[in-house]
């Protein structure tokens, strides 16, 4: 990859050709305020917050301008901040500012931009025209859509289009009434949305939030247990429960993407109906037993029936190690090759 040399705020920077000024800055640890940029998506340049000053060119949208050899860029000036403040004040003109009640409190791009620009209460309220309470769409079982927290960055819309190719949502209406809507303005559950949650993951604010928002205390890498694609997952764990699943961006298979089952289908793990003890049927009813009792009974019965009378089904849901030991047991101990699994079903 060809390297480009440029200067940002007096610092010499190198960046790959094709990167934008915003990406080059962020990659080099320089924050330029931004709202509509997302690393997985094509630049939209709709929020106008990432404005910078390019020597000899004047004000430039950094998320849409590719780096060029020898550019000299300034990311900070009173004038730049004055211009940046206007679109942000317009967002606050109809934004729910009860941050403590928001799932994205302390992890919110709007908070970050507002604090970078030093926005205070009166500038947040400067353009407010009363409160327009828009209804919250709670129709999806996994996430809510709260338009009162939306910043109109379009990241959800572009995710659904560019990454998912589903196009379940788009902007509708204008001005204060502008909103992210489905076809016919139906609840999201009645749209063509597939509940993959990719938009929820990318929403920079609290407009899209998962219904269960338990923060995990640690995260463990594994592989999704559903289909044969083998997506890398990060299981969010709290105590002895799995409370969230995220796509593993480092995984070469899915690069962070997940489907609805992979992202939201984890409730079975700690489900109350899990079988927790060995069970032995006595007089037509299952009774809990110890492992010793159950295993001794199984071993005794298999020994009684002997070779060629016992067959084994292993499982395509189990690990390689499980399958290896089960087939070894079948062949080396039961003395038969009658082992199969559900590969054909």
């Amino acid at each position: 990859m060809e390297k480009i040399k440029l200067t940002i705020d007096g610092m010499a920077i190198t960046a790959d050709r094709g990167k934008t000024i915003l990406e080059a800055a962020l990659d080099n640890g320089i924050y330029i305020p931004h709202l509509c940029h997302h690393q997985d998506l094509a630049p939209a340049a709709v929020c106008r917050v990432c404005l910078v000053e390019v020597e000899g060119r004047g004000h430039t949208i950094s998320c849409r301008t590719p780096v060029e050899e020898g550019l000299t860029i300034s990311t900070e000036s009173d004038h730049l901040n004055k211009i940046r403040r206007i679109p942000v004040e317009l967002i606050f003109a109809n934004h729910d500012t009860d941050c403590i009640a928001c799932t994205r409190n302390n992890n919110c791009q709007l908070q970050r931009v507002a604090s970078y620009l030093g926005l205070e209460r009166d500038s947040m309220d400067r353009m407010r025209m009363g409160n327009i309470e828009k209804p919250i769409d709670t129709s999806n079982p996994f996430f809510d859509r709260n338009p009162n927290r939306c910043i109109y960055c379009g990241i959800c819309i572009r995710t659904c289009d560019e990454i998912q190719n589903i196009n379940a949502i788009d902007f509708a209406s204008r001005g204060y009434k502008m909103t992210v809507s489905t076809f016919g303005d139906n609840p999201i559950a009645d749209s063509r949305c597939e509940s993959c949650g990719e938009c929820v993951v990318r929403c920079p604010v609290g407009a899209l939030s998962p219904k269960t928002t338990m923060e995990p205390s640690r995260s463990v890498k594994s592989v999704c247990t559903y289909c044969g694609v083998g997506c890398g997952v990060e299981l969010g764990v709290r105590g002895n429960s799995v409370v969230s699943v995220e796509g593993d961006r480092d995984n070469a298979v899915n690069h962070g993407s997940l489907c609805v089952k992979g992202r939201y289908g984890f409730e079975f793990i700690n489900h109350r109906e899990r079988i927790r003890k060995p069970l032995i049927k006595k007089n037509g009813k299952f009774e809990e037993s110890t492992w010793d009792e159950a295993l001794d009974l199984v071993a005794k019965k298999f020994r009684e029936y002997g070779k060629e009378k016992v067959a084994v089904f292993s499982s395509a849901k189990c690990s390689n190690e499980d399958n290896y030991v089960i087939q070894k047991f079948t062949r080396a101990v039961l003395g038969t090759n009658s082992i199969d699994h559900c590969a054909r079903l």
Binding site: D296, V312, H341
Partner: protein
Amino acid sequence: MLAIGTNTTKAHPVIALQLKAASRNGTRLIVANPKEIVLSRHAEIVMQQKPGTDVVLLMAMMKVIVDENLQDQQFINERTENFDEFKKSLNTFGIEYAEKITGVPGETIIEAARTFATTKPASIFYAMGITQHSHGTDNVIAVSNLALLTGNIGKPGTGVNPLRGQNNVQGACDMGALPNVYTGYQRVDNPDVKKKFETAWGVELNGKNGLTHTEIFDDAYNGKIKAIYMVGENPILSEANAHHVREAIEKLGFFVAQDIFMTETSILADVILPGASFAEKDGTVTNTERRVQRMHRAIKPVGDSKPDWWIAAEIAKRMGGKGFEYAGAEEIFSEITSLTPSYQGISYGRLEHGGLQWPCPTTEHPGTPILHTEKFPREGGKGKFMPLVYRESAELADKDYPLILTTDRSLYHYHTSTMTRKVEGLELLDSEELLIINPEDAGKYGISSGDMVVITSRRGDVRSKAKVSGECPPGVISMTFHFAETPTNDITNPALDPVAKIPETKVSAVKIRKVV
């Protein structure tokens, strides 16, 4: 790209993302599926062949390619054999004949053939829509012939890509959970292999192939098999003609089920052993592209449940088995790699840096993303063209059973839904079976969306709510098999492919009536 017999957005959603992205970036996509599927929207050419006519469709495409001299002759000369025999077998697959049998307009087949042959590289994706037929092996051979004919194998962007269903179906096969092979497809009837495993395991082994899935149930039914040890499976919902499975299990002297939940099958057991779920286990799984990846234990086993390997090893030890004293999953994996050439170079240490695709014969080997780059694993190393004839599905529509039932899957559920129906949100998004029926057929039977319908085959009947939709063409209805309330596989056809022993769940003749 040709996607045939795969409803990818439903069954392999994240691979579907990549297919859709490729199509958006200008890759030409051909979709062949009896149903109009979501992927069809992204395709340049869509063919809706009648269920069970894939051999005719593919052979007709190949006849067009050969007639118009669009084949990759250099690849055929250098890398393949038996082309002339194969070429002769194309003669019966004229375009009018293909149009009549498949229901796909002749000009569409011609266009698809030309597009596929002249756009390089080209890859083929398929799933159970190709394999779950009494001639499933023929279907796969037809796919392989097409790849050989156009030189689309062994190079980036090409290949015959079966999309595997379960998270570790590839690994279960690799590990020898099959009646004819040990790990890495080493044959049980090969005396050298037998000796190798006898030495490694310190026991005398059986050199005779075992019984397959469906044969085990047949023998249980006939009284030859008396006991079954079943791990993580629910055949009462997944096996074709599931009545037969239930009767077979009821005839057993002893039935052990090992599972994480009570299922329609495990409830019949004499003993249930609680297994641990994937989140509670260390181990590896192998995905559809042969990529071995590491699962890390996130939580301790729920309740008194145990990893499945531990349970099998405990039974083995109690029956006098030697060599089952494993301290953990890594020790088992080392034993696997020592006995399996294709896994030999893989270790837990290496997997911490990402998955590895087998064959990976040495610890320095980077893994093998593409197979057959220089030769094929046959004597002489050539890919063999296989002549084919069209064999009809075991059941065709007739006056008693005038409709064809094919099975499909939902995005929101997985297989028999043992796990997904425990997730409240998934259950809310998709809570019941919906029989998909074309408006024309629906009109004929007076059925509207939401009506209850009885679907009857030669094996029994099930009830389902109907959804009237153009997804299915006239004459074809489709159902999933996710819902115990509508056990679709009670009525599907257990006719087996003679080689692969896979049941024909994709084509069953049925009749329907509205419940009034």
